[in-house]
């Protein structure tokens, strides 16, 4: 697992690192850019921000090819962007515009970029896990060697369908990576009130599934374990279960846990502070600068480029038209 980090002077790795840095910054700046419009009421749909968890989406998606599949849950903006989804279409969707990736019919919780392999996200907890199983099964039937990743949170470890899916995936050696982002909270409920055992990755063992627990705020560790998992799946030696340990910087939904207007985080202050120090982007930046892989100025240039890009996406979204009310029932069925 240390191979990548020790070969960091290698130019191919340098390129990769820069792309990873840009990808993570893109997610963070995009998510943070939604805060003000939400507080102003310009964005109304419920938005589950991914700030703080960028290393997972980035590390995993960089281990995949464009042909591989990703499914996600309500906290999906990071997966969408890391898999190559258009930031303009994402922001437009959140504003409810026709130019949005789901034509304004889905909002933040139902985003998709099928041409990039981001096959859908939906907020029913664990609801997309069996869908990902199906994509993996299709790949096996068609002998395509495509890998499917199913992203879900620690809350999903309460749903029965996850265990049904582990069982079925293991039975068929399906090429699926079950990626559990454990941020220790299932909406408001801390993990110790959800399950007696904190280490979620252990649920793979009874199903004979290779399972790992990884620091989800270390993008290179995420990338390494994902590459390994992808390799196993391509050789018909899947499935793989990976638990990524992380923390969300914002509220379960919206900029903070706005309980009765308090705008207070329900989580303990010390805990939040501890995790802020482990910010995945600051850590990666420190790694790149300390090891003289890139200069601070280079990274700052990327930050500014991304800020411009995100600003442009908001302008695009604000200028885009809303859907036509006469087309309310247009997509109920697909034509034959």
């Amino acid at each position: 697992m240390k191979v990548l980090q020790s070969n960091y002077k290698n130019s191919a790795n340098k390129r990769l690192f820069l792309q990873m840095y840009r990808a993570m910054v893109r997610i963070r700046i995009c998510e943070e850019s939604l805060v003000e419009p939400i507080l102003k009421g310009e964005i109304r749909c419920p938005v589950h921000l991914y700030s703080g968890q960028e290393a997972i989406a980035t590390g995993v998606c960089f281990a995949l090819s464009e042909r591989d599949y990703v499914f996600s849950s309500h906290r999906s903006h990071g997966h969408y962007l890391a898999k190559g989804g258009s930031i303009k279409e994402l922001v437009a969707e959140i504003y409810g515009k026709e130019a949005g990736c789901s034509r304004g019919r889905g909002g933040s919780m139902h985003i998709i970029a099928p041409e990039m392999g981001m096959l859908g996200s939906a907020p029913i907890v664990a609801g997309t896990i069996p869908l990902a199983l199906g994509a993996a099964l299709a790949s096996k039937i068609r002998k395509e060697k495509k890998v499917t990743v199913s992203f879900f949170g620690d809350g999903a470890a309460g749903e029965g369908v996850l265990y049904e899916s582990l069982n079925f995936a293991a039975l068929g050696r399906l090429p699926i990576i079950l990626a559990c982002e454990n941020n220790f909270y299932s909406t408001h409920l801390p993990i110790r009130e959800c399950r007696p055992e904190n280490n979620i990755f252990k649920i793979g063992k009874p199903f004979c599934i290779q399972s790992y627990r990884v620091d989800g705020n270390d993008v290179l560790k995420v990338y390494e374990v994902s590459k390994n998992a992808v390799g196993l799946c391509r050789k018909n030696r899947g499935p793989v279960f990976i638990e990524f340990v992380t923390y969300r910087l914002r509220g379960h939904v919206g900029p903070d846990d706005n309980i009765q207007g308090t705008h207070r985080d329900i989580r303990p202050k010390e805990e939040i502070e501890k995790w802020r120090k482990k910010d995945p982007i600051r850590r990666f930046e420190a790694f790149l600068i300390k090891n003289k892989i890139f200069r601070k100025e280079t990274l700052e240039r990327i930050d500014r480029e991304v800020e411009e890009e995100v600003k442009g996406a908001h302008e695009f979204a604000k200028e885009s038209p809303y859907p036509n009310p006469n087309e309310l029932t247009k997509y109920v069925f697909k034509e034959n």
């Binding site: 599949y69 499914f71 949005g100 990736c101 789901s102 034509r103 304004g104 019919r105 889905g106 139902h110 998709i112 099928p114 096959l119 859908g120 939906a122 029913i124 609801g127 997309t128 896990i129 069996p130 869908l131 990902a132 199983l133 199906g134 994509a135 993996a136 099964l137 299709a138 790949s139 096996k140 039937i141 068609r142 029965g160 369908v161 049904e164 899916s165 069982n167 079925f168 039975l171 029932t329 247009k330 997509y331 109920v332 069925f333 697909k334 034509e335 034959n336």
Partner: protein, 336 residues
């Protein structure tokens, strides 16, 4: 023309569609066992192998989700539930995911899946081995629901359901499995959304679904001896429903009796009554009558079962009541 049983007609549809299109596959509990699915899956495993005829552990939620997910990446799966009752575990993938998917992603992704549930009741199996939930599914936008009552339609509607680019609930009835009828050898489809007149008549329209069509035809034969001409309509598709056929018939007869195999409250008969009132009220000479299951779970004991299930006698009685009514002058008679 060659005759085939209803169950073998379904079998033939599966053989032909799986032969014709490698993306079609069958998945579900008991596809290897006649005990579960009668002889509808006969010969499929031997011909197409376990990759395309997938018998599964008892995990309806994950397995149905798997079928939905496979459809999202372009397969045409048929997921079978040996009893409609077992589908209750699969409500999330059917309703929250499959039914909504095309709409909530603005048409960017579609779900060509057939969700096949077998109505299997009687024989003192009682409440959890008896339900016919077609009205539940018909209520949900984004689902189509078909219920063949003849071998010809059993094959043609299975073909149509597989070819349809939308999720189709295919609900057949075990009580029809031995029914023999003419079935063309070649592959053909019956259009979804089109009903058919089984017997022509001018005195009353009798609309029926699935097995109740058999009882309705029997009732109309009995009533013919009383010089009453009953027009029997077999809906075939519960959703979309053939409104034109229905309304044309009522314009002719002015009277309607509905015979449906579901419960009374909020069942298909309630929906049809509303449609008729909205569209052809001026042609009605009497209120609409419904023949349905009572609002009670299915009992086990034989004596109770006999009381529970309506038959041709119950239907004939309802027709006679409707025909005895005069057009009210002011005030409405309350039916007994």
């Amino acid at each position: 023309m060659r005759k085939l049983s209803y169950s073998l007609a379904i079998n033939e549809a599966l053989h032909q569609m799986m032969d014709d299109d490698p993306s079609v596959f069958l998945i579900g509990q008991g596809v290897k066992s006649p005990w579960y699915v009668g002889n509808t899956a006969k010969g499929l495993l031997g011909k197409f192998g376990p990759e395309r005829v997938v018998d599964t552990p008892v995990s309806e939620n994950a397995i149905t989700g798997t079928a939905v997910g496979a459809a999202l990446v372009g397969m045409r799966p048929v997921v079978v539930h040996p009893r409609v009752d077992f589908m209750m575990y699969a409500m999330d993938p059917v309703i929250n995911e499959a039914a909504n998917w095309h709409y909530m992603f603005g048409g960017k992704s579609s779900v060509p899946v057939v969700i096949w549930g077998i109505i299997n009741r009687g024989g003192e199996q009682a409440a959890q081995h008896s339900q016919s939930l077609h009205a539940f599914f018909a209520h949900v936008p984004g689902l189509k629901v078909v219920m063949p009552s003849t071998p010809y339609d059993a094959k043609g509607l299975m073909v149509a359901a597989i070819k349809d680019n939308n999720p189709v609930i295919y609900m057949d009835d075990r009580w029809l499995y031995n029914l023999e009828g003419e079935v063309p050898k070649e592959t053909y489809s019956v259009p979804i959304g089109k009903g058919i007149i089984r017997r022509e008549g001018k005195d009353v329209t009798l609309v029926a679904t699935s097995y109740m069509v058999v009882e309705s035809v029997k009732a109309s034969e009995e009533l013919e001896t009383e010089a009453l001409e009953v027009e029997v309509i077999d809906l075939r598709s519960v959703k979309p429903l053939d409104e034109t056929l229905l309304f044309d018939s009522i314009k002719k007869t002015g009277r309607l009796v509905i015979a449906d195999g579901g419960w009374k409250t909020c069942g298909m008969a309630a929906e049809i009554s509303a449609l008729v009132s909205e569209n052809v009220f001026d042609y009605l000479k009497a209120p609409v009558a419904r023949v349905t299951l009572p609002d009670a779970p299915a009992p086990a004991s034989r004596v109770l079962e006999k009381e529970y299930y309506p038959n041709s006698k119950t239907i004939a009685d309802a027709v006679r009541v409707v025909l005895r009514r005069k057009v009210p002058r002011g005030g409405t008679e309350i039916p007994k």
